[in-house]
Amino acid sequence: MTQFRAAKGGRIDRSSAIEFEFDGQTYKAHPGDTLASALLANGVHLVGRSFKYHRPRGLLAAGAEEPNALVGVWRDSARYTPNLRATTVEIYPGLKAESQNRSPSLKFDRAGINGLFSRFIGAGFYYKTFMWPKTAWKSLYEPTIREAAGLGRAPTQADPDRYSNRHAHCDVLVVGAGAAGLSAARAAAAAGARVILCDEQAEMGGSLLSDVHTRINGLTASAWVASVLQELKANPRVTLLARTTAFGYFPHNHLGLNEKLTEHVAAPKPDQPRERLWQVRAAEVVLAMGAIERPLVFPGNDLPGILLADAARTYLQRYGVKVGSVVAVVTAHDSAYQTALDLHAAGVKIAVIADTRAEVSGDLAAQAWAAGIRIQHNSTVIGTRGKLRVTGIDLGQVSGSNVQPLESIACDTIIMSGGWTPSVHLHSQSRGKLVWDESLSAYIPGQTAERTRSVGSCRGIFGIAASLADGTKTGAEAAGTTSSITYEVEETRLANTGFIGALPQPGGKPGDKAFVDWQNDVTTKDLALAMREGFESVEHVKRYTTNGMATDQGKTSNMNALAFLAAGLDKPIPAVGLTTFRMPYTPVTFGSFAGYSRGELFDPVRRTAIHDWAQAQGAVFEDVGAWKRARYFPRGNEDMHAAVDRECVAVRQNCGIFDASTLGKIEVVGPDAATFLERLYVNSWANLKVGQSRYGILCREDGFVYDDGIIARLAEDRFHVTTTTGGAARVYAFMEDYLQTEWSDLSVWLTSISEQYSVIALQGPAARRVLEPLVTGVDVSAQALPHMGVVSGFICGIPMRLFRVSFTGELGFEINVPSDYGRAVWEAIYASGQPHGIVPYGTESMHVLRAEKGYIIVGQETDGTMTPDDVGLSWAIGKTKPDFVGKRSLARSSMHAKDRKQLVGLRTQDPKLVLEEGAQIVDSPGQKAPMRLIGHVTSSYHSAVLGHSIALAVVRGGRARVGQTLYVPMPTGDIPVIVTSTVFYDSEGAKLHG
């Protein structure tokens, strides 16, 4: 045991000693310690270097508000977490931690020299200092900033841990399990409500866990906490979540809670999730977040060994740790007296209680006096002594506006209290208003925007008895009832006083190194500079000085900065305004947000019924939306080009089989089905006969092509509509939108059948011979089933919808069979095709084959600005139709301008040269930038069948340019191209109709 471990007390397990490592050195601790309490027990105060000036820093707090002690903790090379607060890291055997922002060591830090230059890196330095010379940016400023920027180091390996997610609902969510939260949860649970109670700490109880004086119903505070927790635990309608931070308050009482599951465990089971994200939808929320003690702002207030008074009490009473041997107390609030008395009782020398107030009354002051502790009224602090640890305090005496140096007192620790700031973070996040309470000198929750209530000290109700009563009343109210629960409390009453802003200094000057924001290294001088430079809005000052930013979100700094600004601007505090509290309340890991969405589960991966067959054949897949589609089927050592050449030739000469199952399919049924399609698509549908299909084009209201597909009429009142693979969901939504909002008079319904059918495309001159032996009940001859014919029948005894359609320009069929039969039918067709040289082909060959025929792909030839006419499809428009979606837009004169971009074909002089898709087109060679761009290449391939490259492009007035030579400017020079028709192959369509 070290001299700093108190002889008794605390909630640590003294019977067991565990070892941990900090900055390579091994120390001893007890179960129940935090990293912070364990370091203090070993006399270690110096735990970090500050962000900007690299000043030596110690522990300021004992909880989540700690701004200084940011450490890296790791279990192994893949599990390194930077920027953890040492105050919230629970000790386990073998814990390894290191300080940050120092090089090479905490005691000697090279960048500590920043302190010497600190007058050059004050507020807004990055806006000013690095302005010139311009050439210094690359060589000096940027490398320097990169070196200095950021805090902690990021882990370099993938996170091996698992993260859990739970959605939960409750009647009452209580945030914070101190006196107010526990009594609120108890009252709500007693009323029969479904309650979730969460608390960020390892143990529930809040400040009651370090309160050894108060008695509740005759029990010590901690015994009362234990009894309430036991009662709540026994209630099946109550969920208790310790180590769980409510970090975000989202609309409609949706709160994000982060539960740490294994951070405190020495050897977590490999399968156990590390954290759980709770997404709670609460009917009512009770916020019992407590209050945070305010530091005092005086010169040199950031030395290691200077900490908050209540933190010192927590270290003593909860962790059995004395923060020092000789302690000076600076306070504006009674609560520091209790700490002084507790420390005194534990054998710590209290050098002085320097009280900023003119007079102090009450029990605690009397007890301190009786204990022989020196109390100095009207005090201020005008400086501190020490380098890596405080060694003394320079007190000043205030009289009126005059400050006189008083005395220098030796000490190894200073504890301070500026009073208490209610934690209004979540109330503010919920868009609740804050109101300034003059008597408390604090912002407290005002008008709420959600079903939420604040209780206890987070709304300015201080004291255990008052918090218990407030929690009870409000907890019951949230559960829709009233409560008769009362508590007998014996406690010391404290006056609600405090100090905000900077302590007065001689000559009214701010003084040196008087820190307001410890985490972001903001001093009173920085704030004063910002004001001198004209920054008056609190939001501007925040960003210019970085006060209250980053992970800290101003927990300890906001109010002091505000008061300092108000004094400087000579305005009342509420007139200065308040910055918004942002989520998260404390940092949340990326892993927690990612949850299960990683690896295979990052996004659904959709596979067709035929996928496994293609995989067994060695297909290479590509992602199309969420689908995996076979791109090509390489044989032997073929690369993609060789495979695609072979597949294309096979389709043109013999027969190919293609998995088109991913196409969107919608069954449109009802007496008004034809009318519905008539209004939606540009084509005519009323005249489409049963058993026939038609190529349909869907435009948006602006007249631009949105989707396309084959639409078949299965019966008078039944259509089978196909969409593009990527468009399936949005076209369905587009249709539903129109049906429900514009044409609710129509009697027609939409059903997605995309996944009901596997679609097997069989294409090529031999397609009919392959298909014929397998089908029954249908005649697939050219006479009985012409191009665009549709018929129902059976294939291998399986019911099918058979479409005679082609996206290759060959004789083709698309066989729709119920999906679970897709694989069997596919294999049957493949077997039947063997004597005919059938080959499976993928999306890449499909692209080439359709481009040889000039068939467009929506999203490739179109980009949301192409009309049907632009892509050569005006023939599809039903000219006599009174209306369709987009018709009015297409009537605008600009839609018929002669220089609109139109789809054309391009041929290169060099048959081997394949243009780059997306390449721009100009009409004369040798242009200098900016060139006059008249179009771009949309599709470009090598065609093995034709023996040369082909390209589709959109070019201004393109159809009138057929035969002209245009140029594709590339880094290697202009490539001359000849404008052609879009159809490169079988322009008469003889093969299609074969």
Partner: protein, 191 residues
């Protein structure tokens, strides 16, 4: 030309039927293939269909009615999902077309569009709540309740068939995702 929709189902090739693979465990089971129909019509026509189908459709929102081997799930005021034996696919279709005659309705066979899973056991609701934002307490989601909903990034139909048994209908290509997701969550309940 004849109406092309009256397709009889052939059952002699059921061995060729390959549904999405689901690994069975003590809390997860794939359910046998079924006939499924999406029936859309005005409420009075749905009532007429109920007589032919043998299950009177629920008038209460988000409730399933089970009668013998058949079930009708309320999905929206004009939409019922009808479930029956696989062997009854053709007869269900024929019976409904005959009963509804000239009424305005849409009957679409979606038997193969989706697969069915059963999640059961004391942790069933908790496992689902790893990805489902619904309140699955018995008070809010009683036995017999069904709804179209999201399971993280997948659309599903969720139906509580017993106290601790849930029936999930999911589009076939999302089966891997849904079972994979639920399996990862369920690992948290393995001791």
């Amino acid at each position: 030309m004849a109406d092309l929709t009256g397709i009889p189902t052939m059952n002699h090739l059921t061995t060729a039927r390959i549904a999405p693979q689901v690994t069975r465990s003590h809390w997860l089971a794939p359910l046998a293939p079924r006939s499924r129909f999406s029936l859309r019509a005005a409420p009075q026509v749905l009532a007429l269909a109920g007589a032919a189908f043998g299950v009177a459709p629920s008038e209460q929102a988000c409730r399933a009615v089970v009668q013998g081997t058949r079930a009708a799930l309320w999905l929206s005021p004009d939409e019922q999902l009808l479930l029956g034996l696989e062997a009854d696919t053709a007869s269900i279709q024929a019976d409904l077309h005959a009963a509804l005659g000239k009424a305005a309705y849409s009957l679409v066979d979606v038997s193969h569009r989706q697969t069915a899973l059963e999640i059961s056991g004391p942790n069933a609701a908790d496992i689902l709540n790893g990805a489902s934002p619904l309140d699955l307490s018995l008070a809010a989601f009683p036995v017999g309740m069904c709804t179209r909903t999201l399971l993280d990034k997948a659309d599903i139909i969720l139906w509580r068939t017993q106290h601790d048994v849930f029936h999930i209908e999911v589009w076939r290509s999302f089966t891997d995702y849904v079972t994979g997701l639920l399996s990862v969550i369920a690992r948290e309940y393995e001791s």
